[in-house]
């Protein structure tokens, strides 16, 4: 087998230009497929990473958007309790509400995202000083707040340590909130995907309701499910419970699956196009390889005859041509694979690393297996006919002297 390979390599060297031209198609095809694989793997890792900033078992419930639907749906604080009590797996539900507003501390006035939070936290950012919003804070609607690391650094640019700001106050308009805790940075956040569900300054959602939402129906509800609950079930049950309470099923839900699906969908389309291009160049490449093998068979008819006369069986000739096809296909696949990994890596460095701050491990093993698989498939699909023709060469015809 090794001898056949060595011989093939020698033949490839002798016909270097033709070999290279033949293999370009294969290289392009494999490179296209491999690079999109790497990029897609990186993107998937980035998307998953982004959602680690918030508890992934979160969904949002809104009245269906028809005119006056907010009024008709008439969601209120009692609905939060309703969901928490009557839908198994709901940990907590709070009014959906996020505003961009000027928050002041001393001489600093900063535009920040401001909203409510429960004692069961939606955010996964660690508490680095003080404590998070407590159950008592929620129950008594106390005027306290917790700062994100961003809010802390913007509002207190000179503070050495987050713990030094505990007990100090921030103002939103005339309202004053005492700082009880400071959060560290979330490892990753959806901000990198263009939206951020986490607020910079949070106060108990009851306080938020009292100060900003009282007297109006809720715009929507943000629900946190328990770790082992299935979102789809939670969402269905929540809609059912609310529909029973208010009459009429006019509620809709969204979760991060929606976003991930969008992104997956986009990559699905891009992936399909690139794979199609890859597949076409693979087909062209395969036909090229078949051609080079056919040429090789007819150029070497006499040689095949000699080999047969000397003692090579049909099977041996068949194997020899298969080995030749495989060596051709594998060298093309290998180069294509390396190029694909390089392009994929580059794409990650340029685009994906910016989003996620990380680079997915390159699927080397995957790629090598894939290259071998490509080579095998190409060999079997495009090498069989030439190999059979080589094996069927009649030694007497081939050796007849002219």
């Amino acid at each position: 087998m090794l001898d056949y390979m060595r011989e093939t390599l020698e033949l490839m060297q002798e016909n270097l230009t033709r070999t290279i031209l033949t293999l370009i198609g294969l290289v392009v095809g494999v490179a296209a497929i491999i690079s999109i694989q790497v990029a897609a793997a990186g993107m998937a890792a980035a998307v998953n990473g982004a959602f680690r900033g918030i508890n992934i078992n979160t969904f949002f419930l809104f009245p269906k958007s028809t005119q006056g639907s907010t009024q008709r749906a008439n969601l209120g604080l009692s609905d939060l309790t309703l969901l928490e009590r009557n839908v198994p797996g709901v940990e907590t539900a709070i009014p959906f509400g996020q505003t961009r507003t000027i928050v002041s501390a001393g001489h600093q006035h900063v535009m920040l995202k401001f909203g409510g939070e429960s004692y069961r936290r939606f955010s996964t950012a660690p508490v680095v000083a003080g404590h998070a919003i407590s159950r008592t804070d929620v129950e008594q609607a106390t005027p306290v707040c917790v700062l994100s690391s961003k809010a802390f650094s913007r509002l207190f640019p000179h503070a050495a340590d987050p713990s030094t700001v505990l007990g100090q106050s921030v103002y939103v308009g005339p309202k004053r909130y005492v700082i009880v805790g400071v959060l560290g940075p979330a490892t990753l956040s959806t901000a990198s995907l263009g939206f951020d569900i986490n607020n910079d300054v949070v106060i108990p959602y009851t306080t938020f309701y009292n100060d900003y939402q009282r007297g109006r129906p809720l715009f929507g509800i943000q629900v946190l499910g328990s770790r082992d609950a299935t979102l789809a079930t939670l969402e269905a049950n929540s809609k059912r419970v609310l529909s029973q309470a208010h009459g009429g099923s006019i509620y809709q839900t969204f979760d991060f699956g929606f976003f991930t699906k969008q992104i997956d969908g986009f990559f699905g389309v891009v992936g399909t196009i690139v794979s199609a291009v890859g597949a076409i160049s693979l087909l062209v490449a395969g036909i090229g390889i078949m051609n080079i093998l056919f040429v090789s068979v007819s150029e070497r008819t006499r040689e095949i005859g000699i080999r047969r006369a000397i003692g090579a069986s049909r099977a041996t000739i068949l194997i020899q041509f298969f080995v030749e096809a495989f060596v051709l296909a594998f060298s093309g696949s290998l180069v294509g694979m390396l190029a694909g990994l390089g392009i994929g890596e580059l794409a990650q460095q340029l685009f994906i690393a910016r989003i996620s701050g990380t680079i997915a491990a390159l699927p080397w093993m995957h790629a090598i297996l894939l290259a071998t698989l490509f080579a095998t498939v190409v060999t079997l699909v495009f090498g069989t006919l030439p190999a059979l023709r080589a094996a069927s060469v009649d030694p007497i015809e081939a050796l007849r002297y002219e």
Binding site: D3, G311, I396
Partner: protein
């Protein structure tokens, strides 16, 4: 052990091309003993090459029995026949038929490659075989860098490397001038003295004279089978055969 190297009984070979049938061999019966040096002669189209192809297991007879070195070949499949060619037969052709892009050493060692001999042993044996035909210093020359006579000697070295029972040569000197032919014939003679069985197809009476025995074909039949002057000397026990009329 059997003393008969080649035993052909009533060999027929019919070629069909469309509706036309060509009877290239029409009942050839021929025995060649071990160590014999036989020349096959006959006019063009008389079936010499066809007979050689049958003897060389490159072609199967349409009917008839063929034993090579005591083995009945009619029952063997392609793989087994390839093995016979590899182990029992050495071919020498008018056109030399060396691999053009491959140097002399590799050409000579090719049969050992198919015999699954290790690369190192292949090299050593090929070197020895080249030395035997007087080309020790031409191992790395490609066929195009060798003269006709030298190419034919490489081919002979290749034919001999597996130590075959029978050496088959179809017009081995057909492409060579008289001096080079003489070299090749001298080589055959020394091989014959060393005990090789040799079958040579030739148009040249002088070449045939060097053998022990001359078989003449006409229209696919053995016309005559006679010892040469040399054959009488060496005392080959040959029964001359009459041409068998066809049924």
């Amino acid at each position: 052990m059997n003393d008969i190297a080649i035993d052909l009984q009533q060999i027929f070979k019919t070629y069909k091309s469309g509706s036309i049938e060509v009877q290239a061999l029409r009942g050839v019966t021929l025995r060649i003993e071990r160590g014999e040096y036989v020349a096959i002669m006959g006019p063009s189209g008389s079936g010499k090459s066809t007979l050689m192809n049958v003897i060389g297991c490159l072609d199967r007879p349409t009917s008839g029995n063929y034993h090579l070195d005591g083995i009945d070949l009619s029952a063997l499949d392609d793989r087994a026949l390839a093995k016979i060619r590899l182990e029992k037969l050495g071919f020498i052709f008018q056109g030399f038929n060396l691999l053009p892009r491959t140097d002399a050493l590799k050409n000579v060692s090719l049969p050992l490659f198919y015999a699954k001999v290790s690369p190192r042993e292949r090299r050593e044996r090929a070197r020895a075989a080249l030395a035997e035909v007087g080309l020790a210093d031409r191992g790395h020359h490609k066929p195009s860098e060798l003269s006709g006579g030298q190419q034919q000697r490489v081919a002979i070295a290749r034919a001999l490397i597996n130590n075959p029972a029978v050496l088959l040569a179809d017009e081995p000197t057909g492409n060579l001038d008289s001096t080079t032919s003489e070299e090749i014939l001298a080589l055959f003679e020394s091989l014959h003295r060393a005990g090789r069985t040799i079958v040579v197809v030739t148009h040249d009476e002088e070449v045939a004279e060097r053998a022990d025995r001359v078989v003449r074909l006409r229209d696919g039949l053995v016309l005559s089978d006679t010892p040469t002057a040399r054959g009488h000397f060496s005392g080959g026990s040959i029964v001359p055969q009459e041409a068998t009329p066809q049924s």
